[in-house]
């Protein structure tokens, strides 16, 4: 157990995410290069980065879809190497793909995932999450007949269905209209009786700033910049971003 910058001792259990020396190779290509990251429970980290900086790879590793080449990863205090199945129960993941089945209705999709996640009082929970994303009237409609933005809303409901402690959202703003974007923040931070954390990757600096409690910039496979949002001057952040990325 090492001393953290605050001067107190913390174990991986105290963190929503703790990453030490994470490296990921795709064949000869090294996408992540000894990445270190600490996210305390209740914090909302927005990661900015250019295309190919490793944002999606990091999300895929944290969500157990991809294995690290080396390094240690703890999610919700659990070791990714040994406790991937328990981690899956505690995370809500939103990727570019909707992960929904076009030929099933919104209700059937949520029922399927709810049963796979062993969600108690599933009927009630489906009603709650569907109401949160404003899709109550589309519950019986087949997903394949919904617009991209509506599918994204259902995907958000799917990610929230099992009330996860950590949200991993990869560019969640894609395809969402203005109202849905505004609602998303409230949905993510909904009071659930415990501290919910989130890691959100995005290109949209304005939107990301609105969501974040902490800001990071990922470039060349490493976190090059990470600060509490309160310590950052929003008006000059674009210059900071460009100086780090370029």
């Amino acid at each position: 157990m090492a001393l953290n910058p605050d001067g107190d001792r913390r174990s991986p259990l105290d963190y929503a995410v703790k990453v030490e020396g994470l490296t990921k190779f795709y064949g000869p290509l090294r996408v992540l290069r000894g990445l270190n990251l600490e996210l305390k429970r209740g914090e909302f980290l927005v990661i900015f980065g250019a295309n190919g900086s490793g944002k999606s790879t990091l999300t895929r590793i944290l969500s157990t879809l991809s294995r690290p080449s080396s390094g240690r990863v703890f999610v919700e205090g659990l070791d990714l190497e040994k406790q991937a199945q328990q981690i899956r129960q505690r995370i809500g993941v939103l990727l570019h793909n909707s992960l929904l089945y076009n030929e099933l209705s919104v209700y059937e999709n949520l029922k399927f995932y709810g049963r796979m996640f062993h969600v108690p009082d599933l009927q009630e929970r489906i009603k709650e999450t569907v109401a949160q994303v404003g899709m109550e009237s589309r519950l019986r409609q087949r997903v394949g007949t919904l617009s991209h933005g509506m599918q994204k809303r259902v995907s958000i409901a799917r990610a929230l269905l099992h009330d996860p402690g950590l949200l991993l959202f990869d560019e969640p703003e894609t395809g969402l209209d203005f109202d849905a974007l505004r609602a998303l923040m409230g949905i993510i931070r909904e009071p659930s009786g415990r501290k919910r954390s989130a890691i959100i990757t995005t290109h949209n600096i304005e939107q990301g700033f609105e969501w974040a409690s902490h800001i990071a910039i990922l470039d060349k496979g490493q976190i090059q910049f990470m600060k509490d949002k309160k310590e950052i001057d929003a008006s000059s952040f674009l210059n900071t971003y460009q100086s780090v990325v370029c």
Binding site: T64, L65, R88, L99, E103, L104, E108, H118
Partner: protein, 228 residues
């Protein structure tokens, strides 16, 4: 332990329910394998015009060419459908045992194969002037499906991540499944030739033994296939 078993069974049944419901809506797999198997049998029937003396030699081969090739067609679609819609990632993200995912997917394909065979077998019998109801043939088809689908589901999950997936599945799968197909053809030949049950049973036991091996190996290996 009991709770774990209950959850495991629920996961398998939920995945099976999802696959059956999706297939009921699209009929994508059932129709493609059924049409392929029907066409194969009809074409062979016209090509060979088997007389009663030779039917025992030709018919088993015709039947298992139809079953195995249309089965591969169905196996290919099983994971391609998941992959195309991102559902495979959705399944991997579920906090369930990987064995449950394997058994759920395999159970769906097994049912599609059984439906196809229940329709094809009477057509096959009529075209080749054989008795319409042959319990021995049904038993061989049912037992062979278990091993066929177990191994096929594993190789389908491997092939779906390759570029030439339509080509890769038969290339990888058929060499591994040859013993089972040989036993199925030999057993079917005995049933069609009217050999006694005691002789047919020998082949049924061999098929069952391979089913167990294929099922155990595939279930254990499947977890590693899903990993990136």
């Amino acid at each position: 332990m009991l709770e774990k078993m209950k959850n495991f069974t629920q996961d398998v049944v939920t995945l099976l329910w999802k696959d059956l419901l999706a297939e009921f809506r699209t009929k994508e797999i059932t129709i493609s394998i059924l049409v392929f198997a029907l066409l194969t049998i009809v074409i062979f029937n016209f090509a060979f015009t088997p007389d009663p003396a030779r039917v025992g030699l030709i018919a088993p081969g015709v039947l298992w060419v139809a079953f195995s090739f249309s089965g591969v067609l169905g196996l290919n679609r099983t994971f391609v459908i998941e992959k195309e819609r991102g559902g495979l990632q959705g399944l991997v993200l579920c906090p369930v045992e990987r064995e449950a995912l394997f058994l759920g997917k395999a159970a769906g394909t097994f049912i599609f194969m059984c439906i196809m065979e229940m329709i094809i077998l009477p057509v096959f019998s009529i075209l080749l002037n054989l008795p319409v109801f042959m319990p021995g043939l049904l038993a061989i088809a049912f037992l062979s499906n278990i091993g066929f689908v177990a191994m096929g589901t594993l190789f389908s999950a491997i092939a779906v991540n390759t570029r030439a997936r339509d080509f890769m599945l038969p290339l990888l799968f058929f060499p591994a499944i040859i013993p089972l197909l040989v036993f199925a053809v030999k057993g079917s030949s005995m049933v069609i030739s009217g050999e006694p049950w005691s002789d047919v049973m020998g082949w049924l036991w061999k098929i069952a033994a391979f089913d167990v091996v294929y099922l155990v190996v595939s279930t254990l290996v499947f977890e590693f296939v899903l990993e990136e």
